[in-house]
Amino acid sequence: MIESLTQNMITSDPWLILLVVVPLLSAPVCILLRSGTAAWSVATAVAWSVLAIALYLLNTVMESGTMIYRIGGWDAPWGIEYRLDAMGAFVVVIVAAIGAVVMPYAKQSVAAEIPAERHYLFYAMILLNLSGLLGIAVTGDAFNLFVFLEISSLSTYVLVSLGSDRRALTAAYRYLIMGTLGATFYIIGVGLMYQMTGSLNIADLATIMPAVAETRTILAAMAFLTVGISLKIALFPLHTWLPNAYTFAPSVVTIFIAATATKVAVYILLRIVFTVFGQVDIFDHFPIQPVMMGMAIAAMFLASLSAIWQENVKRMMAYSSVAQIGYMVLGVALATESGLTGSIVHLFNHAIMKGAAFMAIGAIVFATGAVTLKDLEGIGRRMPLTMAAFVVAGLSLIGVPLTVGFVSKWQLVSASLELNMWPLAALILLSSLLAIIYVWRIFEVAYLRQPHITEHGPKTVPLSMLIPTWILALAGIFFGANATLTLNIAHAAARQLMGGL
């Protein structure tokens, strides 16, 4: 029997399971519907209801504590248990919010980029993806996590392959190979842990782990788990699938996966390091900290440097994402409450920043078909509203105060200073300076160059695309100027994680 390791648990709230079931069941509904518009309507309705459920769950968790749901009524560790704490609730809200904002955007964007006979398939896949990501965040069982991980990954491979350029196919294939390797490594790690502990339930593993942590089996498990998850996170040097996948996928797909997939993978890392191994002094037993920190710093610098030389804006933003992931993992590697707070709040902040940036780029693609810097010349004057949203996202990447990017930087540098890690603080700030270079390249081209003369000007960006873009851009300013709410949630989550459960 699992001991109650936390006070205040709510059991059997069905909304916890409905969160995953609703999108999961509506995917085949979309396939049955055949019509693109009908499928879109279903998808949007589902995405919005999921957001409502997610907000309700976050609220409940913040007020009353961890929520539990036992599938089939079977007690853990024999049955599969769903367990939602502050960290999970936060991730759920991030994923649901991005889903809710992307769906209205998708209508016109998908119509422009994907052939009409495939629309219903697209929406089915994106609902599966949503369901998978949410499932990862709410499940309390390690193997169940694998299942949802693969659900979300498989649907992502399909979504990426829907891109119009044929390179989308090879990008999807490569992503598939590397992603499956990652998931398989994860499952090997889980198997090794199961061998030593006899349990798959995350909370149960946490209690049993201290007894077996010294064995070679668990050391191997840790290694497999870390490498497997790092592949999914796109942590340098296992990031090579990401640039192509983001560049050649349809715009909506890039927006969605840039804002959610890697964040959920970081969540998995946090779960493993701080919950499963939470009661083991993990950084003493395994040499993860220097490795993770090294990889994170490498990601921050090398990816930012790669971004500077790109001509394709989507690819530039993709490398920027790899760098930002470095920041998230750095917070994890610091392994203090402040470090984790920085990492967790950056999950949220980056989702907003990158979501807004890719939405703006998607709108530009819709209007002009342009993605390279050459094509973007002078676009600031022809599409002022769209570019303005991109400017906000870009400033956020640099870390200008009053944007969300600043809040993440603040938290991470504070966390480094608390540990007296001066060089690290300097490195974090130095890599932000690199962001100025590539973001400013885009700004300069968009505003300070003369536009090409073409027969038709850019198509007008429909409101259904402009409004979601601006919702995310304004969210980037709102949560940057008023970061208390998000920082408090992140802090609560960090405290729970550091507490061991």
């Binding site: 193997f143 694998f146 299942v147 693969e150 498989l154 491979y157 399909v158 392959s161 044929r166 390179r167 196919l169 090879t170 999807a172 294939y173 598939l176 190979i177 499956t180 390797l181 998931a183 398989t184 499952i187 090997i188 198997g191 199961y194 061998q195 798959l200 390279t372």
Partner: protein
């Protein structure tokens, strides 16, 4: 002697490891896209072998309820592997579908050739 019985006792794990390495090597080293998928499958099979051999209990019978039997092998890994097999099948199906599409789009399924084509395209783009 103790060492040899350990060696033979652990033979399933050795098989799993060898399969894992073969599969992994094929995925990385082979240029043909279908062969990569095959390698991925071998890699996944090694995991299946590993899990199932984990489940076997010394002297245990198949996990089917019967009054006469006292010791059962662990049924849980079997369940897990069924799930993993399904996931593997889905992945393989998707991968092969992608390969078909790639073949249609590029006219080849050799990784080097495809990379060459993409490189030329990027230089012109």
């Amino acid at each position: 002697m103790a060492d040899f019985s350990d060696l033979f006792g652990l033979v399933t794990y050795w098989v799993a490891i060898v399969l894992m390495m073969i599969g992994f090597y094929v995925v990385i080293a082979q240029g043909n896209l279908i062969k990569k998928v095959v390698g991925l499958n071998i890699f996944q099979v090694s995991v299946f072998v590993f899990y199932i051999s984990m489940g076997k209990i010394d002297g245990g019978s198949a996990p089917i309820l019967d009054e006469a039997v006292k010791i059962y092998s662990n049924p849980l890994p079997h369940v897990l592997i069924l799930t993993a097999i399904v996931v593997g099948v889905a992945t393989t199906a998707l991968a092969l579908a992608l390969v078909v599409r790639i073949n249609r789009a590029y006219g080849t399924i050799e990784e080097d050739a495809i990379q060459a084509i993409e490189h030329d395209e990027e230089d012109l783009a």
